[in-house]
Symmetry: C2
Subunit: 301 residues, 2 copies
DNA sequence: TATAATTTTATACTCGTAGTCCAAAAAGAA
DNA sequence: TTCTTTTTGGACTACGAGTATAAAATTATA
C-alpha cells in the first residue's frame, strides 16, 4: 500500500475516532487529508471499504503487539495472558476500535458485516487457543464455551465499569476480576461436564488454513515416488530424511516455516534421473501453490 | 395513541423486521401503511422517533408478559426466572428487538442512544432485583456484577449458538446452561468476596421513581393535620388507621397500589369540619399528582 | 530532454433519502 | 350548513455518496 494511501487511512482514522464513522463525511476526509475526491475513489471504492481498511490495519497492529507479548514467555503463565488482554483493551480504547467495529456490525453492507463477524470469530479462536495453553488440552471440550463467555463478561464488565467510573475505570482491575471468574468457571464447567458448543464448530466458522485432504494425498504420493526413485547410493538416507522432514513440516506443523522448507528443498540434489527430476518439479510447484494459498488467506480473512 | 397511529407503528415494525431499519425508507412505510407523508410527520417528528416508538412498544409488551409470569409464583423459584428469560429471548427473536436495539445504539442521534442506554440499564436493574429474590439479600453486594455478567454471557451464548446451530438453536438449552453458570458464579463471587461495581451505582444510573423529600414532608404534614382535626368520636380510631395506611403504602411500598389507596381515600368520611375538608382535598390532590408523575415516568423512561 | 503513460485535481452531475411546506380535499363536529 | 381538524400529495430543500471527465501535474521511458 503506497505511502499516500496510508496517510489517508491514518487521517480518516483520526476523524473516525473524533466524530464517529457515520458522522464523518467524505468531504471531511478529503479536506483533512488534503486529497481530491478523484484520488479518494481511486484508493478506496467506497466509504465502507475505507472503514474496513482502517479496522483491518488496527486489528493487524493489535494482533502483532499482543502476540509479541508471548515471545520468550511461558504460554501457560496466566499473568502473560492478563497482560495481553489489558493491551488489547487499551488499544481498543485508544483507537475507538469497539465503536468502529460496532458500526461495521450494524450497517446494511454485506462486506462490512462479514468482516466484522470474521473478526469476532478470530478473536474467539485466539482466546480458545490461549485457554488450551492456560488450562490444558484435557479441558479442551469446554474451552470454546469459556472463550465465548469470557468475551461477553469482559466486554460488559468493562462497559459498565466505564459507565460507573467514567474515564477513571481501572482496566487492570476489570481484567483481573474477569479472569478470576474465568478460572473458576473453567473448573466448574468441566466438573459439571456441560458443553454448549463443541470446539470443532470453530472449524466450520473459520475454515482452517491447513491444506485439505487432496493436498495431503498429492504431497504424500510425490514424496513416496521421490523416495522410490532414489538410487542405492550413500546419498539415499540423507535425501530420504530431507523429504520426510518437508512432509512433516507441511502436514503437522501449525505454521509451516517457509524458509526451512525452501532451504530443505534446495538441499535435494539433482540426480539426472528424469522421474526424480519430474517429481521434484511437481513437488516444488505444489509447495509454491500451498504458500500462495496461505498468503491469500491471510490477506482476505 | 390513536388507532391509526398504532397501525402505522405496527406496519413499520413489520418492515423493520423484514428489511432492517436503515434499509426501510419513509416512502416504504408510507406505501405499506397507506398514509401520506404529511400524516406521517404529523404522527412522528422523524424516522428515528418512529423507531424509538416501535421499540418502546415492544419493550413495554415484553415487560408486561415477563412480569405476568410471576403472578402467583414464588419469586425465589429459579424455574420461574428461567421461564421469564426464555420468554424474553423468544420475543426478542420474534420482534427482531436485538437488531433494532443495536441500530439504536450506533446512530448519531442523541435521543436514540439515550433511549438504548436506559433500556439496557433497566434490564440490568430488573435482573439485579430478581437475583435478590433468587439468591437472597445477603448476596446483594455481588448481584449487580452478576446481573451484568449474566447478561453478557447470555447474549453471547445465544449469539454463537445461533451461529453454530442456525435456526435450530434450542433457546431453553442455552438459558439452562447460562443459568447453571450463574448460580455457581453467585456463590463463587460472594465466597471470594470480590466486587466490581457497587449496586448503589444503579441509583445514579437510573434515578429511582420514589417521591422526593418534599413529597414526603407534605404528605406527612397533611396526614398529621388530618389526624389532629379528627373529633373525639368512635370513628377516630378507624380514620386514623386509614390515614396511617395511606401514608405507609405511599412511602414504604416499592409500588404503591393505586386502587388500594383510592378505596382507602374513599373510606375517609366527610366530617363537615372545614379544616378537615380542606386538608382532605389537598391530600387528594397530592396523591393524584403523585400518580400522574409515576405514569409520566413510566412513559418517558 | 522530449514524449508518453499515469496519477491527481477540480468541478459539475446524478441519484436517493429525510424532512419541510402548503394549498386543497376530506372527514368530523357544532 | 358551516366551521374545525385531519389528511393528502406533491413540490421543494438540503445533504451526502458516488460517477464522469477534462485539464493539470507528476512520473517513467526512450
Amino acid at each position: 500500500m503506497n505511502e499516500r494511501k496510508q496517510h489517508v487511512l491514518r487521517k480518516a482514522h483520526q476523524l473516525f475516532i473524533e466524530k464517529g464513522f457515520q458522522a464523518t463525511s467524505i468531504q471531511d476526509i478529503l479536506e483533512y487529508s488534503g486529497i481530491s475526491k478523484g484520488t479518494f475513489y481511486n484508493y478506496f471504492s467506497s466509504k465502507n471499504e475505507l472503514l474496513i481498511a482502517v479496522c483491518k490495519k488496527s486489528v493487524a497492529d493489535l494482533e502483532k503487539m499482543r502476540d509479541d507479548l508471548l515471545i520468550g514467555q511461558s504460554p501457560s503463565d496466566i499473568e502473560v495472558f492478563i497482560k495481553q488482554i489489558e493491551l488489547q483493551l487499551k488499544l481498543n480504547r485508544k483507537n475507538n476500535l469497539i465503536t468502529l467495529f460496532e458500526e461495521l456490525m450494524f450497517s446494511d453492507d454485506k462486506d462490512m458485516k462479514q468482516f466484522f463477524k470474521k473478526g469476532q470469530i478470530k478473536n474467539i479462536r485466539w482466546l480458545y487457543q490461549r485457554f488450551i495453553d492456560l488450562f490444558g488440552e484435557e479441558k479442551k471440550l469446554f474451552l470454546l464455551d469459556c472463550a465465548i463467555m469470557f468475551m461477553g463478561t469482559l466486554r460488559d464488565n468493562l462497559r459498565y465499569s466505564n459507565l460507573a467510573y467514567q474515564s477513571n475505570t481501572n482496566i487492570a482491575e476489570v481484567v483481573r476480576y474477569t479472569v478470576n471468574r474465568l478460572v473458576k468457571i473453567v473448573d466448574e464447567v468441566s466438573e459439571a461436564n456441560e458443553q454448549l458448543i463443541a470446539p470443532e464448530t470453530l472449524e466450520t466458522w473459520l475454515p482452517s488454513k491447513k491444506p485439505g485432504p487432496s493436498f495431503k494425498k498429492e504431497l504424500h504420493h510425490l514424496v513416496a515416488s521421490l523416495k522410490n526413485s532414489l538410487p542405492g547410493t550413500d546419498q539415499q538416507e540423507s535425501q530420504t530424511e530431507l523429504l520426510s522432514f518437508i512432509e512433516e513440516e507441511l502436514l503437522d506443523s501449525k505454521n509451516p516455516r517457509r524458509f526451512l522448507i525452501e532451504s530443505t528443498m534446495a538441499a535435494l540434489t539433482s540426480l539426472g534421473d528424469p522421474i526424480w527430476e519430474n517429481n521434484l518439479r511437481q513437488l516444488k510447484r505444489l509447495i509454491a501453490d500451498y504458500f500462495i494459498k496461505i498468503e491469500e488467506m491471510k490477506e482476505n480473512g
